[in-house]
Amino acid sequence: MRVPLSWLRDFAPFEGDPIALGETFDDLGMVVEGIERVGEGLDGVVVARVLEVHRIEGADKIRRVLVDDGTGDAVQVVCGAWNFEAGAVVPFARVGAVLPGDFAIGRRKMKGVESNGMICSARELSMGEDGAGIMVLADDVADPGTPFADAMGIQADVVFDLAIETNRPDANSVAGVARDAAARLKLPFTLPSGSLPGGAPTASASARVESPDLCPRFTATVVTDVVVGESPEWVRRRLTLAGMRPINNVVDASNYVMLELGQPTHPYDLDQLGGQGLLVRAARPGEKLVTLDGVERTLGTVGEDCLICDALDVPVGIAGIMGGESSEISAATTRVLLEAAYFAPMAIARTSKRLGLRSEASARFERGCDPDGIDRSVARFCQVAGVGQVDGGAIDVRSLPADRPAIRVRTKRVNKVLGTALSTEQIASYLEPIGFEVARANGAADAAAVDAAAVLDVVPPSFRPDVSIEENVIEEVARHHGYMNIERTIPRRPFVGSLTPYQKARRRLREVLVGAGLSEALGVPLLAPGEHAKAGLAEKALSAPDPLAREESVLRTSVLPGLLRAVAFNQSHRVADVALFEIGHVFGVPAEDSQPLPDEREVLGAVVADAVAAKRVFDVVSQTFHSSVSLASVADAPGLHPTRSAAVSIDGVGVVGHVGEVDPGVLAGWGIEGRVGWIGLDLGAFLPVTPVYRAARPVSRFPSSDIDLAFVVPDTVPAAAVQDELYAAAGDLLQSVALFDVYRDPERLGEGRRSLAYRLRFQSQDRTLTDEDVAAVRARLIDAIESGLGASLRG
């Protein structure tokens, strides 16, 4: 909201530095987003008449000009603008003037010609954007020598641009801002009183309210003998400074009152209203109306919308939001019906949101206007419009609750919440200047007795609908005491802070992956329709009926699509060797309708060069957290390569994810070249939720012995099975088994078979192994593999 300082001064004597006043606004929660100075830098600028214009020898851009600046002598200046000739009336900056932007005018010489001042453009005077030519004024604007500001009716002013919080409808007005700031600065605040036109209600119009719940107070005032024309200069100036365009005296007065007091009003052309009156009611389903912006609106379809109709029940406006075209004020209007009402805030908010239609009026009504401020606003409208005769008394239809209940405010509670040591009288002193009625405890005759009672019964003013409980009052006390004046303390914390074992493990997982060369991707939890299927996954997922964009409308069930998109993106930007991981949440469609939320899990997804790279990264990851995991080939993991993928299981837990490669068909669909290795793990199952401390095994002092064995094994037998069998047959002395060579040669080994070479290391804790020991183990191993797995020792 734009608030001119001169307007604020109508209500309280604000003096001094506008910057300091701005800090007061800030500190009260009215955020200063800008401070604009207008009409400054015009001292020494006068109206002048151009007497003669001459060419300068050897110059084609500038001319020599003689002006009459009211001093009696013709003053010579050099001017670079060509949009005027002799006789023109112009703004003239005398030598010594300092224009906006600290531009000092001095005496200077150009092409040997002395220039004693400057003829100004609109831009040089901060009067507009035009800087191409000088500002040519009306011939009769004023006599030469008249100060330019006087001739143009310009007054120096400061305009504050304030952001008002949603809970402060009272501060959405010049008077409200002034009230708050005056209270903080301990300045007197005066709000002129005003009442509705009294006497018998007007006979020239009618007003009826059918839906008092939507409109608890409605007033109608008739003004006759109206001549629609331009508003006085001061009204136009203030509206312009506040950012509103002047239209005509009637509409301007309505806007002026809204800006000044926060009460929207609506003037109708009474003679255009059917039946010469208004009816307030809920819209019937499907009712239509063309609003002032020329758009046809349909109402009453969802929930209740409040309509203003004429006395013949024809809609003429959407209550509190926007009027209709039919009864607009025009040049021909002579009788005005002024509506000033209090509409139910929730109803206005609902209708405004549903229609996507917001106005200055709806913004104020939905936050809650002052139902008791209507009287003053109507009086002020008549004053500002300054035309016509009030016809009889106002019609006032009200169903407001009689009184606002008092709120009990306990001094102890105030200090307990704020950490202050305020006295009861201090609390009262913060509340009274902002309009709160404060009742001291019974019989408390002086300040000491008030403090001793330590309670206040506080009735918030009608313009503070946001205040209804003790905490709301405490916030007001804190605001006017000053948030920054509350001593900062640090609570004694009873705990040692720490991450959970899961959170620590997840950080470690990230570090291990980064150490393995993978970078972290950040995923969006929503996908485009079809992206699951494009990644080879089931398309069944939750989705958003009303998304921001179709591309983000389906809740992901996997991080695979997002990572494939990242691979494709990076490939298309010539980044080779993409290795990415994401740790994020995925969402399964619940099996039961009764489940309140989807099956949400935290998972790891990683994309690397191919299945071999995936397996190697996986080994590093799994060895970080588990002493043993097992892999089993799977042909039907969604989205994965049917012959190059395996399921990951942990003893006692079950399958926790997959490692392998993405299906080549899927990759083709994303336009990805080459292979993409994949690791997918359900972290809730995979990461330890309690710290794991592995038991130590002493390192033997005795030498170890190795046995190297190569077996020719059918492709149908996984290497993991051979390894398991070796472990089982090796006995207690086994230290490690390592596969060190895989070799295929159909001619020498036969079709469908390969050679797997293992090195097994043996060691005893208490002796050096003998050749006999080793030979016995070797024989046992060969026998186990040959008899158990249909393999043969490679000769």
Binding site: S519, P596, L597
Partner: protein, 335 residues
């Protein structure tokens, strides 16, 4: 045997050593003289024994020196042959990956709060309307709801399930799951139907804090924010609180930090005001306590929250926040 014989033998030995015979003390003139010691008179033997020993030591020292020089020359030649220019090594595995800036920032923030005695709480990203709004004193039709630009999902009743637009529902779940005292922060992903631009993403990350204990005051809130800001941004950064409005706190405040770029004098980064708005905070609203069954007369508390992504872009001088979600390795690998 004369003393001169010893001297001669020693000089001859030294000459042979210089000639490359490093075995001269095993087969040479000093060995010969030594074998003739027994020919001497008994009283002369110790003196000549000592002379011979001295001579052998002199020769041995020379042998050692030459051997060392030879070995050193050989080592130098060998090492020279192995010379490697480490700057010409081809890049290869292992290479280093990079954590996302959001994770890096989140970890730093978590560490500061853990150091201050807080735990880190997490919760679901898809939430019920009750946890996300109702329990936070934002009933249906509350005007504040529209400000969240919530993304509702097709599960349950219409507008009953949504992707959380703030991490506050984790506060509700935490208060439901444990009695006070509570000292926790809640970092996490949120989503708002807000068209992305240079300073907004629809998907972004927040961290909130919640303290509930006996005797917690607004002064504690201001002090805790101050403590955190100093620990994270440094001792020179100032904080200030300004009245604001949130449904879930009362009194409420925005908290701001003095601009690190200009030190508060006003510059482009802070739009000339010297302060940068960081987040919202306030004393937990009694209705929130009531929703989770905590007695607001017995317990008081405060909550605060701010954006992780925004801190990351300010810290790293990023002009367009959308780059955080691009997963563009040319960007990610810079950090």
């Amino acid at each position: 045997m004369e003393e001169a014989d010893v001297k001669t033998a020693m000089e001859e030995s030294l000459a042979r050593v210089e000639g490359g015979d490093l075995g001269v003390l095993k087969r040479g003139p000093l060995v010969d003289l030594n074998s003739r010691l027994k020919e001497l008179a008994a009283e002369d033997r110790p003196r000549f024994g000592q002379l011979l020993k001295d001579a052998r030591q002199t020769v041995q020292a020379r042998i050692d020196a030459l051997a060392a020089a030879k070995e050193s020359a050989e080592r130098a030649a060998r090492l020279e042959a192995e010379r490697l220019d480490l700057t010409e090594v081809l890049p290869g595995p292992p290479t280093r990956g990079h954590l996302s800036l959001v994770t890096q920032t989140r970890d730093e923030l978590e560490d500061v709060f853990v150091g201050m005695g807080f735990t880190v709480a997490e919760g679901p990203e898809v939430e019920t309307d009750w946890h996300n709004f109702e329990a936070l004193n934002i009933p249906k039709a509350h005007p504040a709801r529209s400000g969240f630009d919530s993304l509702y999902l097709d599960w349950g009743e219409p507008e009953s399930t949504l992707f959380r637009p703030h991490t506050s529902p984790v506060q509700i779940r935490l208060m439901q799951s444990q009695p006070p005292p509570i000292y926790a922060v809640m970092p996490g992903k949120v989503y708002r139907k807000d068209t992305p631009d240079a300073s907004h993403n629809a998907t972004f990350h927040q961290i909130e804090g919640l303290v509930v204990d006996h005797g917690i005051t607004f002064g504690d809130l201001a002090g805790t924010i101050d403590e955190f800001i100093h620990a994270y941004f440094g001792p020179d950064i100032q904080t200030r609180l300004r009245p604001a409005s949130f449904p879930f706190t009362e009194p409420s405040a925005e908290f701001e930090v003095s601009c690190a770029v200009c030190g508060g004098a006003g510059c482009r980064t802070c739009s000339g005001v010297g302060w940068i708005e960081l987040g919202g905070c306030g004393m937990v609203h009694p209705n929130v306590f009531k929703a989770v069954g905590i007695d607001p007369e017995e317990w008081t508390g405060f909550a605060f929250g701010f954006g992780i992504d925004r801190i990351a872009i300010v810290r790293h001088g990023i002009e367009d926040i959308r780059v955080l979600l691009d997963n563009d390795l040319r960007f990610v690998t810079q950090f």
